[in-house]
C-alpha cells in the first residue's frame, strides 16, 4: 500500500468525521497561531524599539545619567566630572551635557508650555541633529551664556505660525531669547517625548540663568569607534566613582548606558514575547497533543470493527498503524498550516492597528509547523500502536 493512498484515505477520514477532526485540530490551530503571532509581534516590537533607540543612541554612544535617589532627582553629576572623563579617555570624540526644565515660552500673545534643554556646542555632533534654518549652538554661545535658542519645528509653528522665527525674540520666564535656528525633525524619543516640540539653549545659560544649579541631568558621550565603547564605559565608571569619592562596595550614584546594555534591556523587556508567551503556546500544543491522542484513542475504540475488517482484507499491522499515525499527522499538519494562516491574518491586523511593521518570523512559522508535526506524531503513536496490535478476531466480534 502506497503512502499516497494512506494519505488520501486519511484526508477522506478527516472529511467524513468533521466534528471529530475539528475538535482535534482546534488546539493545534490556536497554539500555532498564538506562537506565530507572539513571536512575530515580539520581534517586530523589539526591532521597532531598537530602531527608535538608534536615532538617539547608536553603537558609539554612552549615556551617563544621574537618575533618582530616595530624595528625588540626584544632583551629583557635574560638568567637571565629564571633563575628567574626557581627560582620561582619549577615545571620546565629544560629549554633550544636558539639563532640562519645563518652562512657558512666549511670543507676542502666544504662550506655550515647553521642555527647555540646555546643550553644549557639541550637541550637533553628539546627537547627530543639525538645524534646518539658522545655525546650531556654538562655543561662544556657551562661553557667554548667551540668551539664544533653537526651536523644534512644531514649537516654532505654534509660537510663530506663518512668521519667520529666525532672529525674532521669544521669552522664557519673561527673559528674552533670540531664535538662532530651527532644529531638524526627530520624532518622538524612547521616553515618549516629542522631540520636535522643545527648545534648546546653551547649557551654561540653562545652568546659571534658568535653573540656577551646578549639576546636569545627563551627558551623552560619543566614542570614535564602536569597538571601544564597552571598554571606555568601564573607564568612565571608574573615573566617575573616583570623582564622586565612592568607597568600594558603595553603589554608583549614576547610571551608565551602553549599546549592549540597552540591547539587553530591550530584549529583557521583550522576554515576555520571546520566551514566556511562546512557552504558553508550547503548553497549549502539549495539551492539544493530549486531546488529539485522547480523541484518536476513542476513534480507535469506535473503529474496532473497521480495524478488524482492514486486517481481514489484508492490511498488515504496519499498515493499520501507519493509517492511524497518518491520520493524526495529517490532522495536525493541516491544523498547523491553518494555524499559521490564522496567525498571519491576526498579525496583519495587529500590525496595521499599531502601525508597526511586523515581518513574519520565519522561526515562528517553522517552529509552529514543526510543533504541529511533532504533536501529530506524538499523539498518533500510542493510538496507532493500539490499533495495530488489535486481534482481528476480537475486533470483528
Amino acid at each position: 500500500m502506497k503512502n499516497g493512498k494512506v494519505m488520501a484515505g486519511s484526508i477522506r477520514m478527516m472529511w467524513r468525521y468533521k466534528l471529530r477532526t475539528f475538535l482535534m485540530s482546534i488546539g493545534v490551530v490556536v497554539g500555532v497561531a498564538v506562537l506565530v503571532v507572539i513571536r512575530s509581534y515580539g520581534a517586530g516590537m523589539e526591532a521597532n524599539i531598537m530602531n527608535k533607540m538608534k536615532q538617539f543612541f547608536d553603537a558609539t554612544n554612552i549615556m551617563v545619567t544621574t537618575g533618582f535617589s530616595a530624595d528625588g532627582p540626584r544632583t551629583t553629576l557635574k560638568l567637571e566630572d565629564l571633563e575628567a572623563v574626557q581627560a582620561a579617555c582619549p577615545e571620546i570624540e565629544a560629549w554633550d551635557p544636558s539639563l532640562m526644565r519645563r518652562k512657558t515660552a512666549q511670543y507676542r500673545s502666544e504662550y506655550h508650555p515647553v521642555l527647555v534643554r540646555g546643550h553644549s556646542e557639541h550637541a550637533e555632533l553628539v546627537w547627530e541633529r543639525g538645524v534646518t534654518g539658522g545655525r546650531s549652538l556654538d562655543a561662544s554661545d556657551v562661553k557667554a551664556s548667551a540668551r539664544v535658542a533653537l526651536l523644534g519645528y512644531k514649537t516654532a509653528d505654534i509660537l510663530f505660525g506663518d512668521d519667520d522665527p529666525l532672529d525674532q525674540s521669544i521669552q522664557l520666564d519673561g527673559v528674552p531669547y533670540r531664535v538662532i535656528g530651527i532644529l531638524e525633525p526627530k520624532g518622538s524619543d524612547p521616553h515618549g517625548e516629542d522631540r520636535d516640540d522643545e527648545i534648546h539653549v546653551p547649557i551654561s545659560t540653562m545652568m546659571r540663568r534658568i535653573a540656577n544649579v551646578d549639576y546636569i541631568n545627563f551627558a551623552k558621550l560619543r566614542v570614535t569607534e564602536a569597538k571601544y565603547v564597552e571598554d571606555v564605559a568601564e573607564r568612565v565608571e571608574a573615573v566617575l566613582r573616583q570623582q564622586h569619592a565612592l568607597a568600594d562596595g558603595e553603589d554608583n550614584d549614576f547610571s551608565l548606558f551602553t549599546p549592549m546594555l540597552i540591547k539587553k534591556m530591550v530584549a529583557r523587556a521583550n522576554k515576555v514575547f520571546s520566551l514566556y508567551l511562546p512557552l504558553v503556546a508550547a503548553i497549549a500544543l502539549l495539551v492539544a497533543a493530549i486531546v488529539i491522542a485522547n480523541i484518536m484513542l476513542m476513534a480507535v475504540k469506535e473503529r474496532i470493527p473497521e480495524i478488524g475488517l482492514r486486517k481481514a482484507v489484508g492490511a498488515t499491522d504496519g499498515q493499520v498503524s501507519r493509517q492511524f499515525l497518518m491520520e493524526a499527522f495529517m490532522v495536525t499538519l493541516v491544523s498547523g498550516l491553518a494555524g499559521i494562516v490564522l496567525g498571519l491574518g491576526v498579525l496583519a491586523v495587529i500590525s496595521a492597528r499599531v502601525d508597526v511593521p511586523m515581518p513574519v518570523s520565519a522561526t515562528a512559522v517553522g517552529l509552529g509547523l514543526a510543533a504541529a508535526v511533532v504533536v501529530g506524531i506524538l499523539a498518533g503513536i500510542w493510538p496507532s500502536r493500539h490499533a495495530a496490535r488489535m486481534d482481528p478476531v476480537a475486533a470483528l466480534r
Binding site: 477522506r12 470493527p305 475488517l309 486486517k311 481481514a312 489484508g314 492490511a315 498488515t316 470483528l396
Partner: protein
C-alpha cells in the same frame, strides 16, 4: 485446496476450566466445493472459520492452504494471503460507515497495491447487481444490499475461497434467499465457498454439509438437493 490435520484450539479462562473449542479437526476441501458448516452456538464453527481464514492460529495441527503450510507464517505473510486468496463475508457486513459502496469494495485492492482499483471495484459491484448503488453509503442501502456490497468486496481480489460466517443471519428471509442465490451462482462459476449457517434449509442448498458439535467436526451424509426448501 484446504487440508487440515488435527487442528486444536483452546482458550484459557481465568477461574474456569480450559475451554477446548476445536478438538483435533480434520478437513479436506477441494476446489469448487460449496460447503455449509452447521452446529449449535459455541460449538466452534466461527473459530474454525477464523483459522481457515488465517485470522487466528491453531494451537496445534497442520493447515495447508493450496499446498502451503500456513500455521507458522509471520503476520505480514498471513495478511498478504488473506488479501489475495480469501474473501470474507460477515454476519454484520462490516462495511465502513460514511463510505461509498465503491470505496468499501476498493478496500482489499488498496492493500493489494494494484492498479485500476475503481474499475475492478465497479465490476465486482456489477457482479452482485449493485451497478446503480455505487455511490451510496451503507446507511443508504438495505441489509441485503449491504451484504451484496460485502460480497463484492470479498470477490474483488478474485480470491480462491470465500468464507462466509452466517451471511444471512441479519437478513430477512427474502434477502437471505437472494444472497444464497448469489453464492450458488458464484459457486457455479467455479469458486470455493464455505459458509456457516443455523438454517438447515440453507445448509441443504450446499453440496456438502459439515456439522460442528462441541469442537468435533463431522460429515453429514449428502442429501438430495432441493429436498428441504
Amino acid at each position: 485446496m484446504i487440508e487440515c490435520r488435527g487442528i486444536c484450539k483452546s482458550y484459557e479462562r481465568p477461574g474456569e476450566p480450559r475451554l477446548d473449542v476445536l478438538k483435533s479437526v480434520d478437513l479436506n476441501i477441494e476446489p469448487g466445493e460449496f460447503t455449509a458448516v452447521v452446529g449449535p452456538s459455541g460449538s466452534g464453527k466461527s473459530t474454525l472459520m477464523n483459522i481457515l481464514g488465517l485470522l487466528d492460529r491453531p494451537d496445534s495441527g497442520n493447515y495447508l492452504l493450496g499446498g502451503e503450510p500456513v500455521s507458522n507464517l509471520p503476520h505480514a505473510r498471513l495478511a498478504s494471503l488473506r488479501n489475495k486468496k480469501i474473501g470474507f463475508v460477515f454476519q454484520q457486513f462490516h462495511l465502513l460507515p460514511r463510505t461509498t459502496a465503491l470505496e468499501n469494495v476498493e478496500l482489499p485492492l488498496v492493500y493489494a497495491d494494484t492498479d485500476n482499483i475503481s474499475d475492478r471495484a465497479a465490476q465486482a459491484l456489477c457482479r452482485v447487481g449493485l451497478q446503480d448503488r455505487m455511490t451510496h453509503t451503507p446507511a443508504e442501502l438495505s441489509g441485503g444490499q449491504q451484504q451484496r456490497v460485502a460480497i463484492a468486496r470479498a470477490l474483488v481480489n478474485d480470491p480462491e475461497i470465500i468464507l462466509a460466517d452466517e451471511p444471512t443471519g441479519n437478513l430477512d428471509r427474502e434477502s437471505g434467499a437472494g444472497i444464497m442465490a448469489l453464492f450458488q451462482e458464484l459457486n457455479e462459476s467455479g469458486r470455493t465457498i464455505i459458509f456457516i449457517t443455523h438454517d438447515a434449509a440453507l445448509a441443504a442448498r450446499a453440496g456438502r454439509v459439515l456439522t460442528m458439535n462441541e469442537g468435533i467436526l463431522a460429515e453429514e451424509p449428502a442429501q438430495p438437493v432441493g429436498g428441504v426448501a
